[in-house]
């Protein structure tokens, strides 16, 4: 019974990994020449490349700076809209709307939002006599502009999980808390959050995976620039593979990314299991 799924898993997951492993140890020795075994050279070149180190650091900032704010926002939306009513249904739909827009389309919209001088953002800032920064053209700001798009796009998605999670909190837990004289903050801290722990863990995993796998907006908005300030790991790999035509280094970068993903998912899954375990005990 397992055989067909194993076959597909091997064909589409494990075999490509083996190929990437092979490619990471091979490369062109002669310009325009064939592939040859080069040992760990691709990895050495990778870590010696300032652009790669920059992409690694950017990805870390991007992960922390998007996953946590979207999570907090999503939780806020979900709690505000948990009770079902007509108005809440409308707002849920509104907050969920960005999720339905393809990332490339959303990025194209933000491109016009961020346009210096003539863009929507600067247009409204100008009314307040504020000159907006160069949203996508300033290396100090560009990454944050992209992160704003990501947060806008993801918060509504995570809200869905929290809405579901909140359904699972028993009403009598709140009643008991109120009887004990717990204020809203204490109810959140000691009732809601503990019940939502598995959901938070799940959203964290989803969020961190998205951080590594979504680069469409980088492609549309900045192409990794200015000065690699918005370069992310996957985009770096793309650049090495197709722009620099260096398959070996791209493969090495892919393996580093794969290793990071493994660590993130493994540790998240362990935390998840632990929180589920606590509830059962």
């Amino acid at each position: 019974m397992l055989a067909p799924s194993l076959l597909f898993l091997a064909l589409f997951t494990y075999w490509p990994v083996v190929q990437v492993l092979w490619q990471s140890l091979h490369g062109q020795v002669r310009v325009g020449g064939p592939q040859a075994y080069v040992g760990p050279q691709n990895f050495l070149k990778l870590f010696a490349d300032p652009a790669f180190r920059k992409a690694l650091a950017n990805n870390l900032v991007y992960a922390l700076g998007t996953v946590i704010p979207s999570l907090v926002l999503a939780l806020g939306f979900a709690m505000a809209l948990a009770r079902s009513s007509r108005v809440n249904a409308l707002f849920r739909a509104l907050f969920f709307l960005p999720v339905l827009i393809p990332l490339v389309a959303a990025a194209s919209i933000f491109l016009f939002l961020f346009l210096p001088n003539v863009g929507l953002l600067d247009y409204h800032l100008a009314k307040l006599a504020i000159s907006g920064p160069n949203w996508l053209g300033d290396p100090d700001i560009a990454l944050w502009s992209i992160m704003a798009l990501t947060i806008w796009k993801n918060a509504g998605y995570y809200m869905l999980f929290f809405l579901a999670g909140l359904q699972a909190v028993p009403a009598d837990a709140y009643e008991a808390a109120i009887l004990d004289g717990a204020g809203p903050w204490q109810r959140l801290r000691y009732v809601t959050l503990p019940y939502l722990k598995p959901t938070i863990g799940f959203v964290l995993v989803i969020g961190l995976l998205n951080v590594v796998t979504q680069v469409d907006h980088v492609f549309v908005l900045t192409k990794g620039g200015p000065s690699d300030s918005t370069n992310l790991l996957l985009f770096y790999v793309y650049q090495q593979a197709v722009e620099n035509y260096d398959a070996g280094r791209a493969a090495a970068g892919t393996l580093v990314m794969l290793a990071l993903l493994l660590v993130v998912t493994a540790s998240s899954l362990r935390t998840l299991e632990r929180s589920f375990g606590e509830k059962e005990a």
């Binding site: 210096p116 003539v118 006599a129 053209g137 290396p139 722009e243």
Partner: protein
Amino acid sequence: MTTTRRNILAGAALAASFALSPAFAQAPTEIELFFPVPVDGQLARDMAALIKEFNEKNPSIKATPVYTGSYDETLIKTRAAMKAGKPPAAVIMSANFLLDLKIEGEIQPMDGLIKADGKTNDQFMGQFFDALHGNAVLDRQVYGVPFHNSTPLLYVNTDHLKEAGLDPDKLPANWEELVATAKKLTKREGDRVTRWGMMMPSNYDYGGWILQALTHSNGGQWFNVDYGGEVYYDTPSMLGALTFWSDLIAKHKVHPAGVQAGGAVSSAFLSGQASMMLLSTGSLTHIRTNAKFPYKVAFVPKNVKNEVPIGGASLVIPTGVEGERRKAAWTLINWMTSPEKSGWWSRATGYFAPNKAAYDTPEMKEFIAKNPDAGIAVSQLSFAKPWFATYKTVPVRKAIEDELAAVLSGKKTPKEALVAAQKGADEIMRPYVEQTALKLPTN
């Protein structure tokens, strides 16, 4: 049973009718043409019209235009198609990628095709402007046929000039005049700039080209025209050019800081939020159609001399395109670069027609009489030099464009930036240099 038999009979009859019809006997050779759209405007629509006409006039060939994005993306998609074993029969390729493609053995020389037409390489290339030969003839072999070309051009909003009390017939011709004019054109409300005197695009691909224009105007050269392993980033002429750009921002405060995308620059100009800009001649038609104010164009202002780089694209045939498809591609290439067609394309887009004879056609003479800006663009062509082209052109260019971005954002001084860019570029070209210029006899 009966239905199957009937189907078979019907199928056989159909096949027979096909075999007998003349259409089947001469099935057209199907070829694809990869084409980029590097500037604003409706180039994709115009290309569809051009190829439709070609197919109508050449029933033995069926060409399909395939839109492939920017110049950089076109290179990527062509390489992907070649790796997949399905090279397009012809590609409109950014002219400065030809050297890199030749080094990697990805495009074929056209000498054999030219010879079969009874021409020498010199005769064939003689129909195109001299400035274009550097990016098309490599090591005496013809690798590309110039299709549309450009140079950077100064665009000026003449309403703004008049408003500032300046003579709209006297456009800035050198860097000093440019700064003085830009200062008068820049408008402020308190600390806030409401109108910029000058704007230049600095996004990837565009920024390097504009910086090359400034470097040439400053008497410099970007790269070794004869050898693909050397760039001259860390040189006085380049330092002057980059410092000039950085001064427009930090010292004179007439140019916005940070990276400006090409589209953002033309939008700012069209909306009246920038009074002057350097942009490709390829954008002429877009500006002409959309400007709601009078504007003029002029040569790129000089510091040392009037000189600009060529931009634009050439038609190439990838390696692996053989036989009938190769012949069909050659027919298409010759048709597209004929005086009539390259003239038509030039009028539709704003690019130069690389074929000199295009400017002798009555349509073109009439057009230039009506649109003097197009004429000024053409006259700048005589001051043009080849576009930078090296081994791994894109990353070598990106090495300086990343540094350019840092300078324009005030993160680095021009000198620091150029030293870093030179180091980065040398590193990228090292494998090629070691296997060519530094590969010396050992005994």
